[in-house]
Every structure is written in structure tokens, then in C-alpha cells.
């Protein structure tokens, strides 16, 4: 019994060290995928409800990641969604599915493909497949204009995701881009 108490004390002490690990290494989404960093998603049995909620979203490609288009990686605490390229993504639905599943999304990462045009002081990327519009934000966004189809990797501010309306441009803070 004494040994068990010592083990318990050691594990409690370990809590202090591991509770606030930074798990926000740069995330790059693959084409037709979205990656969401989620705090607390360290047990997939516990996250079954989140997976179930997400799998109901109509814009997922359920031929990927088993049979539902959702991959939860409990080691990195990331949720990867396989997306149908011809469907508009509703990130507010994604946010709510995760929150109602009991977890806290902290960052959204997307890889969007389309042509960029200037609209006033904004740079808008329109997907030729789904017609969805993204606002590309970043110092280099201007150089993407009129370069044909390009892929843009970026992050969507988690503070704005829940309020996004389908049909509105989705603001994407560009982290990288590549000519298609």
C-alpha cells in the first residue's frame, strides 16, 4: 500500500508539470482538409460524441478516415476533417459540434484553393468548385492577385468562427501559399 501511495503522490506531482504543455506547433492543412487544434481531446472514447457530431456535417467526405471523414488524433489533440471540394465549409457548425462534444477548439487551420481578386481593400479567394469565398489576410495577400488557381494555407481566428455565417467570406490569416 505504501508503494501505491508513493506512486499516487508522484503522479499528482506529474500533473503540475504536464498540465500546460504547449501543443501549438505550426499546423499545415492538406488540400481539402481542415485541421482544428482542440484543448483536452486526449481520449477518443470520451470524444466519441464530438466525432459523432462532426460526422453529421454535410460537407465532410465520409470516404476518408474510416467511414466518417473525421480523424481525431489524441496524441496531438488535433481533429482533421476531410472535406468535399464542391461543398461550402461551415466552420461555425464545426465549432459548435466540438463545443457540444465537451471540448474547446483553440485554432482552425484550412487549405483553400481558388483565384484571388482584390475587392476594395480586401483580397478575396473564390473556390471554383464550391463557390465559397475566403478573405485572405496578410501582408503578402496582394501578390496572390491574378495568379490563377493557388492554394493558401492559413488560420481562422477561433474568436470569430462561432459567429461566421455561411455565405459570408471566411477570414483566413495566410501562413503560406503555393501556385497550383
Amino acid at each position: 500500500m505504501r508503494v501505491q501511495l508513493v506512486i499516487c503522490a508522484a503522479l499528482l506531482a506529474t500533473n503540475v508539470a504536464i498540465a500546460d504543455q504547449d501543443n501549438t506547433a505550426e499546423i499545415v492543412a492538406e488540400p481539402n482538409q481542415a485541421v482544428i487544434q482542440v484543448n483536452g481531446i486526449v481520449c477518443s472514447f470520451c470524444a466519441y460524441g464530438t466525432e459523432k457530431n462532426l460526422s453529421k456535417l454535410s460537407f465532410l467526405d465520409d470516404s476518408q478516415f474510416g467511414d466518417n471523414g473525421v480523424l481525431i488524433d489524441i496524441q496531438s489533440q488535433r481533429v482533421t476533417l476531410a472535406l468535399q471540394p464542391d461543398q461550402k465549409i461551415d466552420l461555425a457548425q464545426v465549432y459548435n459540434a466540438i463545443k457540444k462534444g465537451g471540448y474547446d477548439p483553440v485554432s482552425f487551420h484550412v487549405n483553400v484553393r481558388g483565384q484571388v481578386r482584390k475587392d476594395g481593400d480586401r483580397y478575396l479567394l473564390t473556390s471554383p468548385d464550391s463557390g465559397q469565398v475566403f478573405e485572405i489576410i496578410g501582408d503578402d495577400a496582394g501578390r496572390l492577385v491574378d495568379r490563377g488557381l493557388i492554394n493558401v494555407n492559413g488560420q481562422v481566428d477561433v474568436g470569430r468562427v462561432a459567429a461566421l455565417k455561411i455565405g459570408q467570406p471566411v477570414p483566413v490569416v495566410m501562413t503560406s501559399s503555393a501556385t497550383n
Partner: protein
Amino acid sequence: MRSAGYLLPALFGFALTTNVSAHQPVMDMAPRWEHGYGFQIRYESYGSDTLLNGESEVDNPFNRDNDVSITWLEGIYTFRREVRLSVKIPYVDHHRSVVQNGASVQESGRGLGDVIVGVPLKRYKNDAAATRNIAFTPSIRLPTGSTSGDYPVGDGSTDLGVSFSASFEKADLYQYYDLFYWKNGDGDRGINEGDELGLDINIGWHPYHDNVKNEGIFLMLDASLRYQDRGQNLAGTTGGKRISTGPVFVYYRKGIMFRAEYKYPVYEDLYGTQVSRGPELNVGLGFVF
């Protein structure tokens, strides 16, 4: 010190606390999602023919023994992750040998036992690589079991319980601590089980997990500490102290969970002369939706 500051009060800061039973994943880990629900069928078995007087094993010339099997149907509904409702319905099948008028007599009972209803109230905190929660669970045990027969499956009392628990989990490590107290009311036919104070500790390792299949295994060590006030049932004195421990194996795949647990009493100090509780086996199959 944030983690320690969160866990330690849950472990040691509350004088009187309570819970329904030892840790069960369907009732704790899942469902944590809004409007989630689940049920578990769990078979519990314990028994012994070891006679103890206090801490000491004594001769058992009349072969006194006790053998208990309980099949639990346990259900849970999650309104939101902080508020749940749990119901545990036991079907009891037990028998024992007692001494009456200088002879060994067989007694048995079978039927629906006392139903337990609990309202786990949780507070979660999600960190970058961990999740944790503390919970307060008021419970009531209803006198639904029959008190007739020579070994009744119910005691006829309404019992009130409360527990404080804390769990901490990261991808490869799981910890659960549950401190509970049952205030057992006066039952029928002179039965008066003493109040019970207990602490359950689960330390778990998550050695295998497949992200695509949503399949994995937990291996845990369970330690259970119990103190029950001196009481009385139809066979004689009840109550005492007990520490038991043993391994727990959990396999899950998507919303299905299998759990097997074996516990052995490493220390018992009982009031009067009683049959040891003996080793305990728990096997459960749970589903969440």
C-alpha cells in the same frame, strides 16, 4: 501549482463526500457531450469462506460463507457536460451459510435490489494536452429491493450519498480519485447497515490507441479504501475497514467499452466476527450514444 491546487482540495479538502460506486468509464469518461446517453451491463461478484475476527482469521467450523452476484443495469444521460443523471439498477443473486442453533444453515435471496439515482455535477477544464474535471455527486438509494426472506436483497432503507471526485487525463495517463460517504438509514426487520466512507483511486495507462479505428486499451490499478460503521443485518454484525486493490483492463472501440476488474482485499479489520468480503470481480460492457 495550478494542477495540484485543483486536485488536492478534491482529495483532502472535503470531510464528508460520496458516490454511487467505484469508477466506471461509462459513468465518468463518457458521455461528456450534450444530450449523450449510455448504458452499461455490469456483473459484480464477490464472496469468501474466510472467517475474520477483527483482523485475524479464525477457525470456521460451520463453514460460514457468503457469495454475492449482482448484475447491474446502469444508465446515464448527459444534459450538458456539467450536468448528468445516472440510474443504477441491481439484480441480486446471493447466498450464505450462517450458524443458527449450533448448526449451519443455508440462506439465499434473489431479485431486484435497491436502485441508485445520482446527479453528477461536473466542472471541466481542458488544457493543451490534458483534460480534467472535478465532480460533486449527490445520490439516493431507494428501498426497491425486497426485505423478505432469510437473505433479503434489500434492507428497506432510503440511503443518501454524496461524493467528490477528481479525474485527470492525458493521452497516455489517467487518474481518478473518488471520495464518498453513504448515510444509510434504518431498514426493516432490524437491519441497519452502518454509514460508509470510501476512497477509490484509479491510476491508468493508455498503452494502445488507433486514431482511425477509434480503438484502444486502458490498463489501470484500482485501490479501494472503505470504512463502514458498526451495523446489523439478519446475519449479525456488519462494518469495519477494508483495503482492496487490483488490476483493471478496459478495451474500447468507438462507443463500445468493455471493462474487467479484479480486486483482492489486502487488509480487513471487521467488527465482531464476520465472513471476509473476499476477492471481487467486475465485468462490464457499456455503450454510449
